[in-house]
Amino acid sequence: MMERPLFRAVRGAALAFALACASGGQGPRQQKARPAGSPSRPQLVSFSAPSHATVAVRLFFRSGSADDPPGMEGLTKLTADLMAEGGTERLSASELARALYPMAAELEVVVDKETTVFAGRCPREAVSRFVPVLEDVVQHPRLDEHEFERVKSRAVDAIEKGLRSESDEVLGQQTLSLMLYGGHPYGHFTGGTVQGLKRISLADVRAHLRRVFVASRLTVGAAGGYEGDFSARIAADLHLPVGSARPPLPAPASSAPRFLLVEKRSTPTAISMGFTWEMTRGHPDFPALVVAVSALGEHRQGASFRLFRELREVRGLNYGDYAYPEHFVQASDSALPAVNHPRSHQEFTIWIRPVEPQHRLFAIRAALYEIDRWARDGLTREELERVKAFLAGYTLAFDATDTRRLGYAIDDRFYGLSAPWLSTLRARLPSLTLEEVNGALKRHVDPARLRIAVATHGAAELAAEITGGAASPISYSVQKPKEVLAADQVIERFPLGVNGPQDVQTVRVEDLFEN
């Protein structure tokens, strides 16, 4: 079989690298992300670092669950999963798994509301074997009936036997998402609905693939151990239909009640809260909000941050409590934010990790109390300087690997930024003033807008407690400082933002994600 020029070139790159090492080595020659392409052709991002041991390739489509046709919720994810796992015209599903395995190559597909990324990574030496497989996955997927039935059945199980049952925390988060985006193209679970999935045929998948996984929505990114403009070579290999971009999505306008309580047979209680906002990485106030939200609760970073300190460290209510200025997905290999989940409409959210049921209402109130203080009084000067210093160092890890550097560059393209987001944030941090941060907080955070999702056993009882306005005192087995007990007295009666039964709805878990 003739070898394609692309991979002869790659092999040449590997040889060049070997010679460089023999003569004493060379550092990574990282170039700036090089935007290229036109609206009808793939966009390109490339970071060559020939001495690096692995190569990351990301095929990023501006197509996500927002593209699911009404009544076929889950179609984009089902299509993408079938492409990534179901084999190619040349390789069956089983052969595809076998082909990737000896290289320890990674190939995963991640679908979000507006985007889908086929994310690949392999050792540098394997790139000439790996990339043709990745290309075939995207442009020549097998799409056979047997695999379709398997992947579709799994998608239904993931809702009926997974999302509703296996993690209280994920259930709480996804319920909040339903609340925030009801009636909006973001408004269904990315994995679909039970009935929507059941309606989908293989013909629907084939048609959808041609509609959404198209050249005009594609960004090709490459980073790591290669030389030259690898992304351009991959883009030249891909012959996808040109297609067309999705029109811009409207801003969400939630009509959800203040509380949605999910009745689930479960020992602990999971709580998520949040509201939508039009704050994205390009907004001039966003760096200030990143700092402010970090002070409230940086993801998995401990007692230097308010919610964690007050709920967990001082009161022992749970394992952790965090806040996010934009949609957050944790990376699979660290606590850092995963890349390539950009959204044109964003959200401010709070994650209260599971609490014991007898403390659920106190925990909700404690979080609301802290959010209220934070929004009303703002940060202290000492707190501002500490958070700025933290972010200045912590964010260095955000783009410290090829995969992450590439991911951030692609997301910059999504947001249409003229300068990389991380560079902007780092440059902005030293000069951010207390007035700017607290001013942004006051302009954009209104605790009354928070919507609160609770997954719990005994939802009806909790609804009655909330609407009745009953106090929710807490007691401790140890001596507590006077100031904590004084704050507790306020917290136990802290207003829940409920004016009547219409503000508190309950739902059985089996009724969620159905249609």
């Binding site: 692995t54 260095l396 690997t401």
Partner: protein
């Protein structure tokens, strides 16, 4: 100053040769027994710093104290007289460091990752933390509630429940019968264990039971001197506990349990197999697990891709210090698939035992195991995690290299011998779990004599 310290300590430098592990490993030992491992890594301006102790849930030998190694990990963030817990958090976060800790069956690891410029401060803070830890009984009781909160988040997971039951059933004596979280009853009783926590600190948090690892872009000599200065005065010796060995299992154990919410049924099968003292067996298991159960395996193809009996095959082989379980979890499409899935697993193992081995697949698996080392050491943090996991198995940072060298040499005959010796029904424990709406135990599968636990 340096000369003075050096006279008081033996600093034996060992430099590993390049091998399967992709980075140089520079090892030294202080006079008080503290091992220091420095790994230069191309991560401009960034480093990961670890302090590891060879204590895990394995060492929780006293009845009613399961979960205390993990609980102690939490307590270690409560501070010292010089630096309160809040102080520690404030300083480390002001330096821009990501930080956390994890407890496993055989080890507890504390880590920070961030700008190299902060390393000298981090070293001082961590030395103070482990040499001078001081927490009140009130702090202890508050933290016990946070540990309960951590358990609560796990309780809704069927996979967590399945494996907890499997361990408790498979082990009758050895402390591996519980996981790092501990039994729920013991976690709820933790507030009564203040004095025990101090005993655990005295036994295990000593320099000769600890390892400091630094991976990243840093000045090796300066960092070593900083570590030497900060930790050099740490005194005391660890007191390893005697862990009761697990007697050989002579008959198959089977358990059927109910889960309270709708889930796909699960079938766990685990066999007692050798621990780290037998590196050849560790290497064989590293190869055999994916050969039998990973996506390219014949079993995966049959059960998942072709017959749609199983939705996913979960688990992985995790080497342990002592003999542990070699197991897999089948997530079944429905309860009716159980019998056929069991039979397919039995056939796959019988094929290996009989020497019917796909040689190309064997080569692919070995290639994958070795290439995974490159793929999964892409940050200083992940590199340190890999190194420490294997270091703590045998107390030797060279153990990983030795096992990987053996992986290269695993032969078809090695797999057959291993399967015949260890993967037999009498040595197996199985747990079947399914949703039972009224909380009943799942019905026994016809032809199996499995009873309730």
């Amino acid at each position: 100053m340096v000369a003075l310290l050096s006279a008081a300590m033996v600093a034996a430098a060992t430099v590993s040769a390049a091998g399967a592990f992709p980075y140089p490993v520079h090892r030294r030992t202080l006079g008080n027994g503290l091992e220091v491992i420095l790994v230069p890594y191309d991560s401009p301006g960034l480093a990961a710093y670890f302090t590891a102790f060879r204590v895990g849930s394995r060492d929780e030998v006293e009845k009613g104290r399961s979960g205390f190694a993990h609980f102690f990990e939490h307590l270690s963030f409560r501070g010292t007289r010089a630096h309160s817990g809040d102080d520690w958090e404030r300083i480390t976060k002001s330096l821009g460091y990501d930080s956390n800790a994890y407890t496993e069956d055989d080890a507890t690891v504390y880590w920070l990752a961030g700008p190299t410029a902060g390393l000298p401060t981090i070293i001082d803070l961590e030395a103070d933390r482990f040499m001078n830890l001081a927490y009140s009984e009130d702090d202890f009781k508050i933290e016990a509630r946070a540990v309960l909160g951590e358990l609560l988040k796990d309780l809704s997971s069927p996979d967590f429940k399945l494996f907890e039951v499997a361990r408790e059933r498979a082990f009758s004596r050895h402390t591996y019968r519980h996981g790092a979280m501990g039994f729920e009853r013991d976690v709820r009783a933790m507030p009564s264990g203040y004095l025990y926590s101090l005993e655990l600190y005295r036994r295990f948090y000593r320099p000769d039971n600890a390892t400091v690892v630094v991976v990243g872009d840093f000045d090796e000599e300066r960092t070593f001197r900083d570590i030497e200065r900060a930790f050099g005065s740490w005194q005391g010796t660890g007191q390893p506990v005697a862990v009761e060995p697990e007697p050989a299992q002579v008959a198959e154990r089977q358990v059927r349990i109910a889960f309270p919410t709708p889930i796909l049924p699960r079938l766990y099968s685990g066999w007692h197999t050798p621990g780290a003292a037998d590196p050849a067996a560790v290497a064989a298991q590293l190869v055999l697990w994916p050969f039998l159960f990973a996506r390219p395996s014949a079993l995966y193809r049959e059960l998942v891709l072709e017959r749609h009996l199983v939705e996913e095959i979960g688990g992985e082989y995790e080497p342990h210090r002592d003999p542990f379980l070699f197991g897999c979890e089948l997530v079944l499409k429905n309860a009716a698939a159980e019998g056929k899935a069991r039979a397919a697993v039995d056939r796959a193992i019988a094929d290996v035992a009989a020497g019917r081995i796909d040689l190309r697949l064997l080569a692919d698996v070995k290639s994958n195991v070795l290439a995974s080392l490159v793929m999964e050491t892409d940050t200083p943090y992940r590199t340190g995690v890999w190194l420490l996991y294997y270091r703590e198995l045998a107390g030797d940072p060279g153990y990983l290299e030795g096992v990987m060298e053996r992986v290269r040499r695993v032969s078809p005959e090695d797999l057959s011998v291993f399967a015949r010796r260890w993967l037999s029904p009498p040595n197996r424990t199985t747990v079947f779990m399914s949703w039972e709406p009224r909380g009943r135990s799942p019905r026994p599968l016809a032809g199996l004599g499995g009873g309730a636990p």
